[in-house]
Amino acid sequence: MSKGSSGLSEQSYFVLAALLHGPLHGHAIIKKVVGLSEGRITLPVGTLYGALDRLAANGVIMIEREEIVNGRKRRYFRITEEGDRLVRAEAQRMQQAAAVVMGRPSLGATFA
C-alpha cells in the first residue's frame, strides 16, 4: 500500500475523497471509490471498515448517523474539518509531485 508524506494510504485517500461529496454508508463508499478511481480501486469490505475505524479513531471522519435498513444497522460516515484539510493537503502534495514530471518533456519529445 503506497503512502504519502501524511501517512495517508491510497485507499484512505480515496475514502476521504469519496466523503468530500457528503456523508455515505459503507456500500456507497465502495461504489464511490470505484467511480473516483476509474475502477482501479475496489475496496474489500474488511479493508474498508479497517480504514474507516482508523480514520475515525484519528478524528479524520466521524459517524454522522445510524439507520436501520432491512433490520440491519447502517452507519453513515462524514469527513471532519481535519479530514478535509488532510485530504486537500495530500492532493496538493501529489499535484506538486506530479508537476515535477508532467512539466518536463518526455524522452520521446527530447529525441524527436
Binding site: G7, P44, L48, G50, N58, R72, K73, R74
Partner: protein, 298 residues
C-alpha cells in the same frame, strides 16, 4: 439466511465478539450488496480482507490499559508456559510439581496474580533446588530422569542454575509487581495452553538448538512467529506492550548464553544464531512502535 450469508458470518468470527455484535450485521449487509446474483461462495479477496481485518481489529482491541503492566503480564504468561512445558517429560516423577506448575499457569493466564503468587513461588523454589541438586521441600530422587517414552537428559541435567533461576525470579518478581497493583491484569486467551504440548520437552536452560530436535525446532518456530507478531502488533498500534512482553521472555534466553559463555566449546553457531535472532526480533518489536508513533498510518 442464505448459504453465502452463513459463510460470511463464519468468516466474521475473525473479529472480536463485541465488535462482531456491533458491526457484524452491517458488514454482512455490505458484503451481500457487493455479491453477484446466485453467488454462494465468499469472494477470495473479501475472505482474505475479513481475516486480515479481524486479526488487525483483535490486535488493536488488545492494546487496552497500561502498556507496561499488560506487557509484563504477557511476558510472565510466556515464561509460565515454557516452565510447565519443560516439566512434561518428567511427569511420572514430579506429578505434584507438574500439577502446581499447571495451576500457576492457569491462575496467571486468567489474571489471578495474587493466588498465583504462592503457587508459582513454591514451584520456583523447588525448580531452583533441582538445578542445584538439592531435594528441598519434598523427598525426591535426583537427578530426575524423563519418563520411559521420552528420550533426553535428566531435568536441568545439562543447564542451570542461572537461566532457570532468572526465569523464575522474573516470573515471581513480576507477579509481585502485578499483585501490588489495585487493578489486576486481564484474563488472557486459553489458546496460550496450546503452546504447552508444542514446547513439551524443551530445555530452555541448555543450548539444545544445535541438536536440531523436533522440540527445539518447534520452540524456535513458535518464538519467531510470536516475536514477529509482537513487532506487527507494535506497528499497528504504536504500543510498546508487546515489546515489553518480548523483552521479559528474552532475559532467560540471554542468561543461558551468559551461563554457558565460559564453556565456549559447547556454544555452536546455531546457538549463537538463535540468541541473535531473538535479540534482533525483540529489538525490532521495541523500535517499531516508536517509528509508528512518529507517523500515524491511516
Amino acid at each position: 439466511m442464505t448459504t453465502l450469508e452463513r459463510r460470511y458470518r463464519w468468516l466474521l468470527r475473525a473479529y472480536p465478539k463485541g465488535y462482531r455484535a456491533d458491526h457484524g450485521d452491517e458488514f454482512v449487509d455490505v458484503l451481500l450488496d457487493s455479491a453477484k446474483p446466485a453467488q454462494a461462495l465468499p469472494a477470495p479477496r473479501e475472505a482474505f480482507a475479513l481475516i486480515v481485518g479481524g486479526i488487525r481489529t483483535r490486535i488493536v482491541a488488545a492494546a487496552q490499559g497500561p502498556a507496561w503492566t499488560d506487557g509484563l503480564h504477557n511476558g510472565i504468561v510466556a515464561l509460565a508456559v515454557l516452565n510447565l512445558a519443560v516439566l512434561i517429560p518428567y511427569a511420572g516423577s514430579i506429578r505434584l510439581w507438574l500439577a502446581l506448575s499447571a495451576a500457576a499457569l492457569v491462575l496467571i493466564l486468567r489474571g489471578h496474580v495474587r493466588p498465583a503468587l504462592p503457587v508459582a513461588g513454591i514451584v520456583a523454589v523447588k525448580m531452583t533446588a533441582i538445578t542445584m541438586g538439592s531435594p528441598w521441600l519434598d523427598a525426591m530422587l535426583l537427578p530426575v530422569f524423563p519418563d520411559a517414552w521420552w528420550a533426553g537428559p535428566p531435568l536441568y541435567g545439562h543447564g542451570g542454575p542461572i537461566a532457570p533461576l532468572a526465569s523464575n525470579v522474573l516470573l515471581v518478581g513480576g507477579l509481585l509487581v502485578l499483585a501490588a497493583r489495585r487493578d489486576g491484569p486481564r484474563a488472557r486467551s486459553w489458546w496460550w495452553l496450546a503452546a504447552v504440548p508444542l514446547l513439551a520437552g524443551s530445555d530452555p536452560a541448555w543450548l539444545d538448538i544445535a541438536a536440531g530436535s523436533p522440540t527445539a525446532m518447534a520452540r524456535v518456530c513458535l518464538e519467531v512467529v510470536l516475536l514477529l507478531g509482537a513487532a506487527l502488533a507494535g506497528h499497528l498500534t504504536a504500543d510498546s506492550r508487546w515489546a515489553i512482553a518480548a523483552s521479559v521472555y528474552l532475559v532467560p534466553a540471554i542468561a543461558v548464553l551468559y551461563e554457558n559463555i565460559e564453556s565456549i566449546e559447547h556454544l555452536t553457531r546455531q546457538d549463537i544464531a538463535h540468541t541473535t535472532l531473538l535479540v534482533v526480533l525483540v529489538l525490532a518489536a521495541a523500535v517499531v512502535p516508536f517509528r509508528a508513533r512518529r507517523r500515524i498510518l491511516l
